[in-house]
């Protein structure tokens, strides 16, 4: 029973990682860049939900939609201002710009909303559809947040796979991902395709932010940073560029982290997570579900 409860905690954390990792892996797969500002877009999205839902009492669904709109605009703007001018620059320059963008967002958030933590209201707390599930005479409780996060994660993954494999915009993305130059010659608008990728990735970030903060309710300007890094690790773990890989990597990372906390040591849990990552990458350098990729760094 204890094991199950730890496992469910782990899956809950893992599904949040997975949701964030989807954004990372998609941008990497198509634009071939690591968008380190992704975690901070999540943080901005969470603040939007916090003010819309927590302070103004808007409907939770509306709040998340509003946050998705704000994040989409922000993500596209970041891509337009900071990444597009560097499209032909060495990948290292883009990487540094992304890290710079991440700090910029954190500092701006700190100026606007101060560094004092806010306690985030759960978006599913009073929901009539999602209720906590109690099993084995109340010995095991699965919170509504966990259920919603896992469901959202699966639904989003399926929608993404459908979008990429079965729509023309999705095909354009795949083409850009295969060979940017050739795609352009074939009449694909590369800039528009990459902007679309950022738009989708940032909208996902808004959903991830709302669910992350509902499960772990402490919101401050650095909230997105560490989960962002962990999700990036999850994406690499599962095979970066692969959407099912991001899902699998996220869930596994969350479960390993929580079980090592529970049965080995809370002090060592991070060390164990990263040790597993190193071992996996040594055995399978492209990650669990990754395709053969030549990463240029």
């Amino acid at each position: 029973m204890q094991f199950l409860s730890y496992l469910i905690n782990g899956i809950s954390l893992g599904s949040v990682y997975a949701l964030i990792a989807l954004g990372y892996t998609m941008v990497y797969g198509i634009a071939k860049m690591l968008n380190f500002a992704h975690g901070d877009v999540i943080m901005i999205g969470s603040y939007v939900v916090f003010f819309a839902f927590g302070s103004f009492g808007l409907n939770p669904v509306l709040s998340i939609v509003l946050s998705m709109v704000v994040c989409t605009i922000l993500g596209v703007a970041i891509e337009r201002v900071a990444y597009r001018p560097l499209r032909e620059a060495p990948s290292l320059a883009v990487l540094i710009t992304a890290i710079g963008m991440s700090y910029l967002l954190q500092q701006v958030a700190q100026l606007m909303w101060t560094s004092n933590a806010k306690s985030f209201p759960s978006v599913v707390a009073n929901s009539s559809i999602f209720k906590p599930v109690s099993l084995f005479d109340g010995q095991l409780t699965i919170s509504a947040e966990t259920i919603v996060t896992i469901l959202a994660c699966v639904v989003i993954m399926v929608l993404l796979l459908y979008f990429i494999n079965c729509t023309s915009a999705g095909h354009a993305m795949q083409a850009v991902s295969e060979d940017r130059g050739a795609a352009q010659l074939m009449g694909v608008n590369v800039n528009a395709t990459i902007s679309l990728t950022f738009a989708i990735g940032s909208a996902l970030a808004a959903v991830a932010g709302a669910l992350l903060c509902s499960s772990y309710p402490s919101l401050q300007p650095t909230t997105g940073a560490m989960p962002g890094i962990k999700a990036f690790v999850a994406a690499v773990f599962g095979g970066i560029g692969s959407i099912p890989g991001a899902f699998l990597g996220g869930i596994l990372l969350g479960v390993i982290e929580n079980l090592s906390k529970a049965y080995i040591s809370t002090q060592l849990s991070d060390a164990i997570v990263f040790l597993v990552l190193i071992v996996v990458l040594l055995v399978k350098p492209t990650g669990l579900l990754g395709k053969k990729v030549n990463v240029k760094v």
């Binding site: 409860s5 806010k118 402490s218 982290e257 809370t266 991070d270």
Partner: protein, 400 residues
């Protein structure tokens, strides 16, 4: 030979200082027409202002602490000067941006200004480097808030107004044992933070010495704290009936929420880092009901000294004082108590003042906003009775 020369030089200096003093009183006597005023002036030694210097981060990441200390000290200086009717203290504050090197520059700037007593620095790391220099200068140093043990161990001229980190752990353990708050103790602490792990180490030793059992000691790090539910579950499964949280209020609020989700209701007990939990935006304070915290100062305490301080601080700066401001405020009043005792005056050299203050601090008892009956050990550590609050109806109430 060298010793002889330096002794001769020193005595010459003392003589010249004494000469200064006597000319001062002389001029007072000649200008003063009221003989009683002159008598008073000579009674308290002199009315030359004592120059108090403060150092702390008023910009940068720790700015909120530095600003609070600066305002607390400034408020106390203004109050004292106003009440006395003449300038007892002159006050100057320098920014160190929570940086050891900048703190040294600030210290040198203040020395050039003529500082006689240092009320700083605010944070522990800069304090350590400045403390070493004050030992060389034999400058009296009273830090409002640098709580690391190393700070007071630098020299016998360094005193603290706040509890040291281990001391909080010891006092908490004693309080829990004496009041039989729990028998099986769980602890959740931040292993990446010196404050938190320092308290935990001392707490563990003391609680075991008192015969209580720690059934779960769980930790998190600053990089790994978004999910604290596993730590809570482990305490629950270990059957802890009291969970000690030597951490800051932000993570503590997450723990309270996580415990509520799994229906776990032990007694939670925190230290001064817990102060602030009721003011987190959006936090459901009913979850904190019954939470106990050991905290030398709380703005909501109802005693007269605190109420008066909080009211005048709010009037002056438009915000509620935090513990740092209270510690700083007490620092100035503790020095003032020595002025009133007649043991120091503005004509003394830095070194003379240091010796006089050392003698006074180790013998006097001080009542301030952070506690009644505060005394200091010769090693500079403060000892004050613990104040424990219980959150009742969303407010702090003094624990029985």
């Amino acid at each position: 030979m060298k010793k002889l020369i330096s002794a001769a030089l020193a005595s010459a200096m003392v003589l010249s200082l004494a000469a200064c003093g006597s000319t001062d009183t002389g001029s007072n006597a000649s200008t003063g027409t009221d003989s009683t005023a002159t008598a008073e002036a000579s009674n308290t030694g002199s009315t030359t202002p004592i120059k108090l210097g403060g150092i702390g981060p008023t910009t940068g990441s720790a700015a909120s602490y530095g600003i609070a200390v600066m305002q607390g000290e400034e408020l106390a200086v203004n109050e004292i000067n106003e009440a006395a009717g003449y300038t007892v203290f002159e006050f100057s504050f320098e920014d160190d941006e929570h940086d050891a090197e900048k703190a040294m520059n600030a210290y040198n700037t203040l020395k050039d200004w003529g500082m006689q007593v240092l009320l700083g620095t605010v944070t522990s790391t800069p304090s350590l480097s400045v403390a070493g220099e004050t030992v060389n200068d034999n400058m009296f140093m009273l830090t409002p808030s640098a709580s690391a043990v190393d700070v007071v161990e630098t020299g016998d001229n360094v005193f603290q107004m706040c509890f040291t980190d281990p001391n909080q752990g010891v006092v908490s353990a004693d309080y829990i044992a004496e009041n039989a708050l729990g028998t099986k103790i769980g602890v959740i602490y931040d292993s990446s933070d010196a404050y938190s792990s320092g308290i935990y180490t001392a707490f563990k030793a003391e609680i075991e010495a008192k015969g209580l059992e720690i059934v779960a000691a769980e930790s998190f790090t600053s990089d790994n704290k978004s999910d604290l539910s596993t730590q809570v579950t482990k305490c629950q499964n270990a059957g802890a009936d009291l969970v000690f949280l030597p951490i800051y209020y932000n993570e503590a609020s997450q723990i309270l929420i996580a415990a509520d989700k799994v229906g776990y209701k032990p007694t939670f007990f925190g230290c001064d880092g817990m102060d602030g939990i009721l003011s987190i935006e959006g936090f459901d304070t009913s979850l904190a009901e019954g939470l106990m915290l050991l905290c030398p100062f709380s703005a909501t305490a109802t005693d007269e000294t605190t109420q008066k301080f909080v009211a005048s601080y709010e009037a002056a700066y438009g915000e509620t004082p935090i513990q740092f401001a209270a510690d700083a405020y007490d620092c100035v009043y503790a020095i003032y108590q020595c002025v009133q005792n007649g043991s120091i005056n503005g004509d003394m050299s830095v070194s003379e003042m240091c010796e006089a203050l050392k003698a006074d601090f180790t013998t006097m008892t001080f009542n301030g906003t952070t506690g009644e009956g505060q005394t200091w050990e010769a090693n500079g550590m403060v000892s004050k009775p613990p104040r424990v609050y219980v959150v009742t109806n969303g407010e702090y109430a003094t624990a029985e």
